[in-house]
């Protein structure tokens, strides 16, 4: 009985509530129908537009295999035909998620080791002077590069490395430059601190060199680190049927080995012409001439002339060249001040200007029969830019790349000198040097592709 009363009460309650609820449902349904009608109209219109277009390629739907990932479905509400229509840039790109940097970052580590005779170590006469019989980080470099804006590209390289035995590692700015890309008449301008485009190998960083060490001629004429200057370079690639790049630069002249005035009042001028010839699909040659002219710390003019050549033979279908031949020569026209003792009393009586015309060159060949292995040899011959004497060396080497980002090199270098350019602290001769050199290099992250 009590249960019956409860049911009746419930029925009455529902009965009271029902009319407004039904009214609300009807209103909602009306709205929904209206919305559906609008959607139908929109779809019909879209269909009509699509039918007006030619039939797009309608490939079969992608299967969903167990192994590989299936084709990513189009975003909800978008058909392939819609994807194919013109759209705002980035609208779909953004769906891949954020987190993409606007510039690239890479870290390169270059470690070298060498073994040589003890007298060479004492005289500090090895390839890595002061670091004989040591394994050390030569160059660990952080590179940041990318577009600044639509008009400019920037590159910053910060590096550290052990320069002398037991010395604490210091961090320095290796390169920081901006290239203006949108100048007229096929020109570009680069300003900042940079490795100068003088010859083939000067502009290459240590870890990217095709050998463990920089060729003797470059170290003798431009110093251990090569020509790195602060200033401006302008290049032009004229619209010709063949490739020709012209370069002119103005720099401080900070390089103390060759120049050293370090002022724009008496700047260092550089220039280069580079051309490229393809002899069929398999053979290619790059040729260039460079000049650098400035004043030394003695306020005397020093002009360096450089010639470069690089040949590559890459058989059809090969991923790497089979043969690469490289050569460079530098001719130095230097004025130096010489102290003259006319009466042989051991005292300088007058200072005379002397011309020192010196030559140095190297040539090397590399054979890469396998993708991961290469072997080569480099021959160096160089006079010293100021002092008398010359040296020659021969360096066979073997390179192994476990992957694109890791490389090992082993080399043997034999050097013969008549004199030392700058004798060591104990005045050792180190006229005959035998060295075993080892290099391990890695790349973390991004690294730009290398030109020819």
């Amino acid at each position: 009985m009590r249960a019956l009363a409860f049911v009746v009460a419930l029925a009455c309650f529902v009965g009271f509530l029902a009319p407004p609820a039904i009214a609300q449902d009807a209103e909602a349904l009306k709205k929904e129908i209206e919305q559906l009608r609008k959607q139908l109209e929109s779809v019909t219109e879209r269909l009509r537009r699509l039918e007006a277009q030619p039939a797009p390629v309608t490939p079969p739907p992608a299967p969903s295999p167990a192994g590989p990932p299936a084709m990513a479905p189009p975003p909800p509400g978008m058909s392939l035909a819609e994807l194919a229509r013109p759209r705002q840039p980035f609208s779909l790109y953004a769906q891949r998620g954020a987190g993409q940097l606007l510039f690239d970052i890479g870290v390169t580590g270059d470690f070298v080791g060498n073994l040589t005779q003890s007298n060479v170590e004492k005289a500090q006469g090895g390839t890595f002077a002061g670091q004989e019989n040591r394994f050390f980080p030569r160059e660990v470099e952080l590179s940041l590069f990318g577009q600044v804006d639509p008009y400019a590209y920037a590159e910053v390289r910060i590096e550290t490395g052990e320069e002398a035995r037991g010395q604490e590692l210091g961090v320095k700015l290796a390169e920081a430059s901006v290239t203006l890309l949108t100048l007229p008449l096929g020109t570009q301008a680069k300003f900042g601190q940079m490795r100068n485009r003088f010859g083939y190998s000067n502009m290459i960083h240590e870890h990217d060199l095709p050998w463990i060490d920089r060729p003797n001629v470059l170290r003798n004429f431009l110093g251990g680190e090569g020509l790195q200057e602060k200033g401006v370079e302008v290049t032009i690639v004229p619209d010709l049927p063949f490739y020709l790049e012209g370069l002119a630069g103005v720099f401080n002249g900070d390089n103390e080995t060759a120049f050293g005035r370090g002022t724009l009042r008496i700047p260092l001028f550089t220039g280069r012409l580079r051309t490229f010839l393809e002899l069929g699909d398999e053979n290619a040659v790059q040729l260039g001439m460079s000049v650098a002219s400035g004043e030394s710390t003695e306020k005397q003019r020093d002009t360096l002339l450089g010639w470069e050549g690089r040949y590559k033979y890459r058989p059809e279908g090969w991923l790497h060249p089979l043969l690469t031949v490289t050569g460079e020569a530098i001719y130095s026209l230097r004025r130096v001040l010489v102290e003259v003792d006319t009466d042989a009393d051991g005292l300088t009586d007058l200072i005379k200007k002397r011309e020192r015309d010196r030559l140095g060159w190297y040539t090397g060949a590399e054979v890469q029969p396998f993708r991961r292995w290469a072997a080569g040899v480099r021959y160096d011959w160089s006079e010293f830019p100021s002092n008398p004497g010359k040296e020659r060396s021969v360096e066979p080497y073997l390179t192994f790349w476990p992957s694109e980002f890791l490389r090992f090199r082993l080399a043997y270098k034999n050097t013969d000198r008549t004199h030392r350019e700058t004798p060591g602290a104990n005045d050792g001769s180190a006229r005959r040097v035998d060295e075993v050199l080892f290099q391990g290099t890695f790349i973390l992250g991004a690294h730009p592709a290398h030109p020819f």
């Binding site: 030619p54 779909l92 490739y243 890459r314």
Partner: protein, 305 residues
């Protein structure tokens, strides 16, 4: 009397000599990074474009060497059509040496065709180089998937129209004509591949996944255990075991990859290795986009029979 006629003759001759140049000057000079895009750009651009490719179909596009001859081509280009998705990053170095503001990043002449492409194999976890030469944006070898041609060609139309807005109707018309033809071929290719649908294959490098997926085939593995890293013996042993267990009869090898190694693996596994056209011009008779897909479809339909 003689002198004026000589002058007129010289002017007429000069004009006649210049005429083709003037005609040629009307065309957009387009450079593309990979040959697939040359074929597609020619299909869209028709007579209004002159297209030159920086690489050939027999090359590995990941490791293209930047030569000054590339810079020479780019020096005169009105547009550069690039694949994107990190396949042809080397183009940046070539552009930097070309001194041509028309094609630097952000310029109207820089056309990237990966926009809007639903990329496959987009990593969903943290990626680093221990996984080989991985592409954080996804697998970039999508250009030979005919199902994606509408998106790719639309990107090309949009790009070319930025440079020559008046020619958009022509580009659109050319695109429609090309897609119609591709659609007809697609129907035939689908029929041809129907009997082998669901078949499993092994590829040397993961650059055929879009094509296989499009036609309902399954890539069960690659000879490279990690992209771009030469295969280790252990991995090859594992692949051979898997191929035997699953009865896989086909290994697909790019024209630039180590065919001998693939052949050895195939012999061990009781299968056969085939060179497929990984790009337009990759093998003989694949001079254009449709011919290249035709080659690959025929190859797979016969090999998997």
């Amino acid at each position: 009397m003689r002198r004026p006629s000589l002058v007129v003759g010289a002017i007429v001759t000069t004009l006649a000599l210049l005429a083709p140049g003037v005609q040629a000057a009307k065309k957009l000079r387009v450079v593309v990074t990979i040959p697939d895009l040359k074929s597609l750009t020619e299909a869209v651009g028709g007579d209004l474009v002159e297209v030159d490719a920086l690489t050939r179909g027999t090359q590995n596009f990941h490791e293209a060497e930047v030569r000054p001859s590339m810079m020479l081509k780019l020096r005169r280009a009105d547009a550069l059509v690039e694949n994107g998705a990190e396949l042809d990053l080397w183009a940046d170095v070539a552009v930097l040496g070309a001194n041509n503001p028309n094609i630097v990043r952000g310029a109207a002449g820089r056309i990237e065709i990966s926009r809007g492409i639903p990329l496959l194999e987009v990593p969903s976890t943290r990626v680093d180089r221990s996984m080989g030469d991985v592409h954080p944006l996804g697998n970039p070898h999508f250009s030979l998937d005919p199902g994606l041609a509408p998106i790719i060609t639309q990107n090309i139309v949009d790009g070319l129209s930025r440079l020559s807005p008046d020619d958009r109707p022509t580009f659109e018309r050319n695109r429609r004509a090309f897609l119609e033809r591709l659609g007809e071929e697609m129907g035939r290719w689908t029929k041809l591949m129907e009997p082998v649908r669901g078949a499993k294959v092994v590829a040397y490098h993961p650059d055929v996944i879009y094509f296989l997926t499009r036609f309902g085939l399954v890539q069960v593995g690659t000879l490279e255990d990690r992209p771009g890293i030469p295969p280790s013996p252990q991995h090859l042993v594992q692949i051979i075991r898997q191929m035997k267990a699953e009865g896989i009869k086909v290994i697909l090898v790019e024209p630039w990859n180590d065919f001998k190694l693939a052949q050895r693996v195939a012999e061990e596994a009781g299968a056969k290795a085939y060179v497929f056209a990984s790009a337009v011009g990759g093998v003989k008779g694949t001079d254009n986009y449709i011919a290249t897909i035709e080659f690959n479809v025929t190859l797979l339909a016969q090999a998997l029979k």
